[in-house]
């Protein structure tokens, strides 16, 4: 059971969000995760940023400053090719985790 800790899940959520929505700032990512998960998942907003910066250092995502619709300047993130690969791996490994946990719960 490799790398299926909470940190891994957050990475997966962020990568997936960027894959679905393209360019997005941190706040947008939080909102998208919340909305897309029907309010089931709420990210602790402060802990999102260390993860974003770590992923940027790892080369999974890139960033640039741009203006929001309300004319506020914000840092926007987007997925890189390496990030796309990472996403595929993370998704596969998460599927394994879910399968495993489900099997475990159904064990009679």
């Amino acid at each position: 059971m490799a790398k299926n800790d909470l940190q891994g899940s957050l990475d997966l959520l962020v990568l997936k969000t960027l894959a679905q929505r393209g360019r997005l700032h941190g706040y947008g990512i939080v909102q998208h995760i919340q909305r897309a998960s029907d309010d089931l998942l709420q990210v602790e907003e402060g802990s999102l940023y260390p993860a974003l910066h770590r992923m940027e250092q790892s080369g999974w995502i890139g960033s640039e400053w741009a203006m929001t619709e309300t004319n506020r300047s914000a840092k926007y993130y987007r997925l890189t090719a390496a990030g796309r690969r990472q996403l595929r791996e993370a998704e596969a490994s998460f599927e394994q985790l879910v399968k495993g946990v489900r099997a475990m719960l159904r064990y009679a």
């Binding site: 700032h25 941190g26 602790e44 940023y49 260390p50 910066h53 250092q57 300047s73 840092k75």
Partner: protein, 878 residues
């Protein structure tokens, strides 16, 4: 992120932090905005945003940390941390740095020599197209052949001829010995060199024998002998009593066409008769000169050899006697063609291989040190992992430590090698010949040394990788050391140790083989006894003696020296055996008139001697008589031959006496005596035929006076010096003991032995520290287990085998592998060292014994520690 941006970031630290702040602020602002849009009051909207965000200070710090984790900032941190770690364990650091310094230093020195002798071409323009032309594998050609080659070849832009000679140079004081090149007129033009001062001689200066009384000074000689005086151009000096005009000075770096020969000046070869008192310029059979040629662009070596051999076929047809069997080939120039070049190149390449092995052993040594250190720090590593550090991060820090050590060691090694190389460059190993090879390091040496240091740092740093990536944070929960591994499970450390021991055994085997060979050659029968003998070498030609005055003066010198108290006997010989000059000639039967090379009976060494030479040299007369003073010029020609000559030409010693033979159509000799055979050219040679003729019948102005002393020959030096000076103060001569003169013959074997010995000692040192590290580590690790065993009643034997068995097994395994490899390697040595064979019980036994001693030495202290374990105290410790 590029490295430059990281460095830039270091200086823009506050800018990055401002940016992080701005990002976090913008997040909160966006949240407030949407809260307001959802209808919250301004105050509630802000409160909610901050609440959701969590502690902004913590968030900012964590973001900063995430940014710095892989940045340059963390590299500086690693560097500082590593430096602190190294300072904290000075013993480890010093061992590691010294080990690497020794290994890198050895590699820098050997590489520099390799660079000077093999990689670097002659220091001449377009040197890559210069080749020596060899005849039948030797760079020796005759002057008439050279002229034909020069005029008929189509493959070369030009070919030039040169040979070495020594002269007495008189600049208006005491005549002094100078070493010269005799060169063809086109020499400097073919080489493409331009004078530093004045001009060079050229083909236009050659108008037949003795037509060109000019000389060109070497730069160094000009500086030392003429004090760099520019007005020397045009000055007339006397060489062997003949007037020569100084034409010019060579440029500073120019050393002629040989790497090993340090000449003082250059003269045209057409003046040979004047300088040497005799000349082989008309003799197609007198092959004593080297030829260097510059290939035309686009001509391959094979094409050039084809061209030369077409000329050889023509020469053979035209001069069937002299040029029978002529066969030309090209060789790399610089070390007397392939004659010295081939073995030297093979040996230096072999040395480089051994030096690389030393470095490998040092890396293995350091690798296991680092691995052991990482194992000792297992808890620290586990703790750092538990606190959230990444494995990569820890690995990087350890790698930084290794690199730091590698760079320190490399710098120390390079510094040490500079001293050694400077000494080697200034070294003139032979008394009788100006051998000197500049081996100064160039840029290439530095690059190689630094690259090797970095590589070895990286390799050492890799060693603990497996441990780090297997380490588990749970380790920190457990107390005490990890359990022992399975008996035969191989760890990286074990492999490294075996490699190290094997390398050491290879080096030991080869150096022992070399030492044995050297000792054998020192004690083998030379056919003369170099002890208690003094040699006086003169060339009367240098002092202006010609014709009949030469033998008369030689006789007077001989008589004067013989009369000195303390002299048991004295005799003259034209070339000293195992020296740097010799005559080899073809022997034919006395009746034949067909003097082609294919009809010769043997090649034999020829020496001209005076009566008393054999006695003074310590050569045993087996049958017949010595040459006598009555064997005068007009008396029947006689010769004393050695046993090999007698056997080969006449069948036996008895049959040889009274027998007759012919030397290259010059003379028919009658054998009057037989002496034992000796070594003439090299120590490693098989017995070869030789014959000795009376000095009066085959005169030579150049002689060695062999003086046999009753006691210490050094004590005779002063009286002999005076006696000769009293006869003629203008005769230049050199005086040295025969032992010292033999240095030239023993030089190759000695150099091989010393260099192998040094490398062997380094290898042994590395194996020793490696084994010691391994043994003490395994004792430390299992100290507690030993305590328990002891408490349960285990005997000393059990304790020792448990704690050291592994190290000793690895030692035996490594030694056997190394000896096997060493045997294969020493085949190379047989070129240089007398009777070099690894299948010598003394060598095998010696290597095994040495390895065993090393093992004993290395495990002694750890074994003592294991045996002194106090079970009760140990149990209390944790």
């Amino acid at each position: 992120m590029s490295i430059f941006r990281r460095i830039a970031n270091l200086f823009r630290r506050s800018r990055i932090e401002r940016e992080i702040d701005a990002e976090l602020q913008s997040h909160i602002a966006l949240r407030v905005e949407s809260n307001l849009a959802a209808g919250m009051s301004a105050e509630d909207a802000r409160r909610d945003a901050l609440l959701r965000f969590g502690n902004p200070v913590v968030a900012r710090e964590r973001v900063t940390a995430a940014d710095a984790a892989l940045g340059l900032e963390s590299f500086w941190f690693d560097l500082r941390f590593s430096a602190r770690q190294l300072v904290k364990s000075p013993g480890f650091t010093l061992t590691a740095v010294l080990t690497l310094a020794v290994a890198i230093g050895a590699n820098a020195v050997v590489f520099s020599v390799l660079n000077a002798l093999v990689l670097r071409p002659l220091n001449l323009p377009g040197a890559a197209r210069l080749y020596n032309i060899e005849d039948r594998g030797e760079p020796m050609n005759s002057y008439p052949d050279f002229r034909d080659l020069r005029d008929r070849n189509r493959a070369f832009d030009g070919i030039a001829l040169y040979s070495f000679e020594s002269v007495g140079l008189d600049t208006g004081g005491d005549p002094q010995l100078a070493w010269i090149y005799e060169a063809s007129g086109n020499y400097f033009d073919v080489l493409g060199v331009h004078p530093y001062l004045g001009r060079f001689f050229s083909s236009a200066d050659e108008h037949g024998p003795d037509s060109s009384p000019y000389l060109v000074l070497g730069y160094d000689y000009w500086r030392t002998r003429f004090h760099a005086d520019p007005s020397v151009i045009g000055r007339i000096v006397r060489m062997n009593r003949h007037a020569f005009t100084v034409l010019g000075v060579t440029p500073p770096q120019f050393r002629g066409t040989e790497l090993e020969y340090q000449a003082d000046l250059w003269i045209p070869v057409v003046d040979q008769q004047e300088i040497e008192g005799s000349s082989g310029l008309d003799d197609r059979n007198q092959r004593g000169q080297a030829i260097v040629g510059r290939l035309k662009p686009g001509v391959t070596v094979a094409q050039a050899e084809g061209d030369l051999n077409a000329i050889a076929a023509y020469l053979e047809k035209t001069y069937p006697v002299d040029d029978d069997g002529l066969k030309f080939s090209l060789a790399r120039p610089g070390l007397f063609g392939d004659m010295i070049g081939a073995p030297v190149r093979a040996f230096v390449a072999g040395l480089m291989l051994l030096a690389a092995l030393i470095l490998l052993a040092a890396c293995a040594n350091l690798g296991s040190l680092f691995a052991a250190r990482a194992a000792d720090r297992a808890r620290e590593i586990a703790l750092r992992l538990a606190l959230g550090s990444s494995r990569l991060r820890i690995f990087r820090q350890l790698l930084t430590e290794a690199m730091l050590i590698a760079l320190l060691g490399g710098a120390a090694g390079i510094a040490a090698s500079l001293f050694l190389l400077r000494a080697l460059t200034a070294w003139r190993p032979l008394a009788a010949f100006p051998v000197n090879v500049p081996v100064d390091p160039d840029l290439r040496t530095y690059i190689v040394a630094v690259a090797l240091a970095l590589l070895s740092g990286f390799l050492c740093g890799l060693a603990p990788m497996r441990q780090i990536f297997r380490a588990s944070p749970w380790e920190v929960v457990k107390t005490g050391q990890a359990a022992a591994r399975g008996k035969w499970k191989l760890a990286t450390r074990d492999v490294l140790l075996v490699v190290q021991v094997a390398v050491c055994a290879v080096l030991l085997t080869s150096s022992l083989v070399a030492v044995r060979g050297l000792l054998r050659s020192l004690h083998s029968n030379f056919g003369f006894d170099p002890q208690h003998a003094l040699l006086l070498s003169t060339d009367l030609n240098m002092a202006g003696y010609r014709g009949d005055r030469v033998p008369a003066m030689q006789r007077r010198m001989l008589d004067a020296v013989s009369a000195l108290p303390g002299v048991t006997s004295a005799g003259l010989v034209d070339n000293i055996p195992l020296g740097l000059g010799w005559n080899e000639t073809s022997i034919y039967s006395a009746q034949t008139t067909d003097l082609r090379a294919s009809n010769e009976l043997a090649e034999a060494m020829q020496y001209s001697i005076s009566p008393g030479y054999f006695q003074s040299a310590g050569t045993t007369l087996l049958a017949g008589r010595d040459v006598a003073w009555s064997d005068r010029k007009n008396a029947p020609a006689v010769a004393v031959v050695n046993r090999e000559f007698a056997r080969k030409i006449f069948g036996s010693v008895a049959q040889a006496l009274g027998g007759r033979f012919q030397q290259t159509g010059k003379q028919v000799y009658q054998v009057v005596g037989v002496v034992e055979e000796g070594k003439y050219l090299t120590l490693t040679e098989d017995p070869r035929p030789a014959f000795f003729t009376p000095l009066l019948q085959s005169p030579s102005s150049q002689t060695w006076l062999v003086v046999r002393a009753a006691g210490d020959p050094q004590r005779l030096a002063a009286p002999v010096h005076e006696a000769v000076r009293a006869l003629d103060s203008a005769v230049p001569f050199t005086l040295l003991t025969w032992d010292r003169e033999l240095d030239s013959a023993l030089f190759a074997a000695r150099a091989a032995t010393v260099s192998l010995g040094v490398l062997g000692a380094l290898g042994a040192m590395l194996a020793l520290t490696g084994l010691f590290g391994m043994a003490s580590y395994s004792v430390t690790r299992r100290l507690k287990e030993m305590g328990i065993r002891m408490a349960l009643g285990a005997g000393h034997g059990k304790i020792l085998s448990a704690s050291l068995g592994r190290a000793l097994r690895l030692l035996v395994f490594g030694s056997l592998a190394g000896i096997a490899l060493g045997m294969a390697a020493t085949r190379l040595l047989s070129f240089l060292v007398y009777q070099a064979t690894p299948l010598d019980p003394l060598v095998l036994g010696g290597t095994l014994l040495a390895m065993l001693l090393l093992g004993l030495l290395a495990t002694w202290a750890p074994a003592q520690r294991a045996l002194r374990v106090n079970p009760s105290r140990l149990m209390r410790e944790e």
